[in-house]
């Protein structure tokens, strides 16, 4: 590709990076042209985030060279990268909850003279940026802590745009966005590239890559396996093979017909959480997968959290196998056989500094124990079983959860409830940030659990996923059930139409 004329904006050669015993990058090359959308793909843990962190001054590479507009550079601090014109939207939300939207946008490069802030000016620029991103209704002075994850992502993007940049790196920006938001994001990306700004785009969703990408580079196990593939010319199957080294059929597992006399396991009646939703009633039968479809912010998370007792219902009740749960008591829900895989994996799900096996047995170590004495051998045994069954990588039960990639962290949460053996499983965004290979495995797993009689509720921002995986679907908007349908009776457009009508009303 070197002979084609446009000089690369950014060129990376032979980058390596080691964290303690983990060799995260073993030699990565990358070449980004001005004005292109360059997609970086790879499985969970392949080293994508590590790569972009070395490009944004967060990590110093151990070896390798970085060229910026033809000149060799050293990116030792975030400031160094930012001042060259490299802005990054990180995979982990990098916003400050206690600050307003505008303050977050201008963090580190405040609108100020002599250290004194221009609040009005910052707010009006922020408002314009938000408008450009299609979120003019967000007030720039609103505290970011009160925003949904999706809206936080918008703030991150506005921040990247607020700088004078030549390259914007987006590490899985779409993971927490719904379909509409993704289109919005793409609109902005196109606008950027038309101005000659380059975008490095990371995503596990192949359709997105097809839609927005120009060229693709693939990383596998910390090594470049393909560079500068043309998006249009590379078939999906080949991409998957380059990433995973095998063929993965990215199809949803076949549904087993739900037997009509399957008993109702989870019964939700007139459930209410003031300020979020009211009078919600529905049932889930054994072996049924019930999907919650809706836009981000539609209170789906709040509903499952309330069922689980993590939030205290203001009215109504939840029963499992006819037994009523104590409102606001997680432990009574867990005892009754409900498990929740929460939306925010890191802050709500994992103890990041603890080893994998302890995270897996977090709900069951008491059961493994005898009269209060831990049985770590038993714990490690059951954890190892799940590590093997879910193909968790690395398969080292002693590795701290922090050092795992997102997809593998998600598997820990599934493993937790598999060990526990729940009769009701609530999955809030179970495939967020999970690679194609693992995603297929998780789908299969979910279906297998349902077939074994578990009642499952699944929330996903990807309507396709909800429809593909569930037996029945609740279309939810603003805490209200707009429709309850069999997943076969409705398609993506149908859901979106319902939601649009719902919010218009």
């Amino acid at each position: 590709m070197q002979d084609e004329n446009p000089r690369p904006l950014l060129e990376v050669r032979g980058l390596t990076k080691r964290f303690g015993a983990v060799q995260a990058l073993k030699g990565v090359d990358l070449s980004v042209l001005p004005g292109e959308v360059h997609c970086v793909m790879g499985q969970n843990g392949a080293g994508k985030s590590t790569l972009i962190k070395t490009l944004s001054g967060v990590h110093m590479p151990d070896d390798g060279e970085i060229f910026w507009e033809g000149k060799k550079v050293e990116l030792s601090t975030p400031t160094a990268a930012l001042s060259l014109g490299i802005a990054t939207m990180y995979q982990e939300l990098d916003v400050v909850d206690g600050l307003s939207i505008a303050e977050n946008i201008f963090l580190g490069h405040e609108q100020a003279s002599g250290g004194v802030l221009h609040v009005k000016k910052a707010n009006s620029i922020a408002r314009a940026l938000l408008q450009r991103l299609g979120h003019g209704k967000l007030s720039p002075s609103r505290e970011v802590g009160s925003l949904s994850a999706a809206n936080k992502q918008i703030v991150s993007m506005a921040r990247a745009l607020s700088r004078d940049t030549k390259l914007i790196i987006m590490d899985e920006p779409s993971a927490i966005l719904d379909a509409g938001e993704v289109q919005n994001l793409f609109r902005v990306v196109r606008e950027l590239t038309s101005q000659g700004i380059a975008v490095v785009y990371i995503s596990h969703r192949l359709e997105e890559i097809r839609e927005i990408g120009d060229r693709i580079s693939v990383i596998k196990d910390g090594q470049s396996t393909a560079n500068n593939l043309d998006v249009a010319e590379t078939p999906k199957a080949e991409l998957i093979r380059r990433m995973t080294g095998r063929d993965v059929a990215n199809v949803f597992p076949e549904r087993t017909a739900l037997s009509l006399d399957a008993p109702v396991v989870l019964e939700v009646s007139d459930l209410e959480l003031t300020g979020h939703f009211d009078k919600l009633s529905f049932n889930v039968r054994a072996g049924e997968i019930l999907g919650f479809a809706g836009l981000v912010g539609s209170q789906r998370s709040e509903i499952v959290e309330t069922i689980y007792g993590a939030r205290k219902a203001t009215a109504g009740q939840v029963s499992v196998n006819g037994k009523r749960l104590v409102p606001g008591s997680v432990s009574s829900a867990v005892d009754a056989g409900i498990g929740l895989s929460p939306e925010e994996r890191k802050s709500q799900g994992l103890i990041l500094d603890e080893p994998i096996y302890k995270n897996v047995t977090l709900s069951t170590f008491e059961r493994c124990a005898r009269t209060g004495l831990l049985d770590e051998t038993a714990e490690r045994r059951v954890a190892n079983e799940q590590i093997a069954a879910l193909e968790l990588r690395p398969a080292d039960p002693l590795r701290p959860a922090r050092t795992l990639s997102g997809g593998n962290q998600q598997k820990i949460l599934l493993a937790r409830w598999l060990v526990h053996g729940t009769t009701v499983l609530l999955l809030d965004e179970p495939t967020r940030g999970v690679d194609v290979g693992a995603r297929a495995e998780i789908y299969t797993l979910i279906r297998r659990l349902a077939d074994a009689g578990t009642a499952i509720i699944i929330i996903s921002s990807e309507i396709e996923e909800v429809l593909g995986l569930s037996d029945n679907v609740l279309v939810i908007d603003d805490g209200q059930v707009l429709a309850q349908k069999s997943a076969l009776e409705i398609d993506e457009h149908g859901v979106l139409d319902l939601v649009m009508k719902g919010s218009a009303a």
Partner: protein, 350 residues
Amino acid sequence: MDQQTGTPAEVPIDSTKSSGVMQTLLHGPAGRSLGLVVALVVLILIGFITSGDRFTSSENMLVILRHASIIGVLSIGVTFVITAGGIDLSVGSVLGLTSVVGSLTAVQAAASESTWLIMVLVALLVGAIAGFVNGVVIAYGNVVAFIATLATLVAARGLAEIISQRRTLLVTNTDFTKFMRADFLGVPVLVWIFALAAAAGWFLLNRTTFGRRTVAIGGNLEASRLAGIKVKRHIVSLYVLVGVTAGIAGLMMMGRTTSGTSTHGYLYELDAIAAVVVGGTLLVGGRGTIMGTVFGVLIFSTLTNVFTQNNMDTSVQALAKGAIIVLAVLLQQRFASGKVRKAKKLPLKA
């Protein structure tokens, strides 16, 4: 007034299902101090009921304010480090050290006219140096703030004792002590200093890049670093700032007591931290309120005054004080916000 989230008027809180203006007020920034205002008013009422005019006289109010002023200035500084997620246990002991070095300067420099200025500068410098040491050990040595400043607490006290040879040094510059003990427009200079420090602190925290970055670091250190903020440098400057406020407080103490000794400021760190946290600044960082701190300081100061007016036994005072601290925090929280998730997350931490 007390928050960095912009003026309350601009915050529509939330479009979805907000239940009226009152809610907005109570849950907004104004509400965060409301509980404290209520607590203070209740205290004042109790004072009035039990001691009548003697309590509400303007002289007595000035006694309360003067008493509050030194801890007050200290607490303004402490608000910054706590907002940034740190803590400073050494402020009281640094206060003592600055008072000793300051007094000694005055003695050394004899009665020359410039003494005053030199003394002030030296005291502030000593405070700044102590803060600098704290900051460097914390930011570059990666020692947790609690331990680093605990070490400084011990060391500064020792140094002050060595320098003063454990004597109470008299502040010989009468110009200085007169100034510090004078009134200006009917209000004591000490109280003016407190008011100015509070105003400056409020401005610094809410209207400058320094303040924004302080809140940001406290809220999410990693994100701040990624945004290009020189986090370590900022942390050092924060501890220098609190050191300087300890220097100012030391000077006030020298003026108020006309003396410098290593015992000045003993255990003030706990009073300051209590005032800051009761005021609503989060001990885990990420939210700080100067107004809240001012209220916190005033509540404690008024409490002491009410106790004294009623000639209450010290032990009973202690018992009551413990209960009142908890009540004030509960009240403050109740008014502050309905953020259940937040509240659920915080209690254990720090």
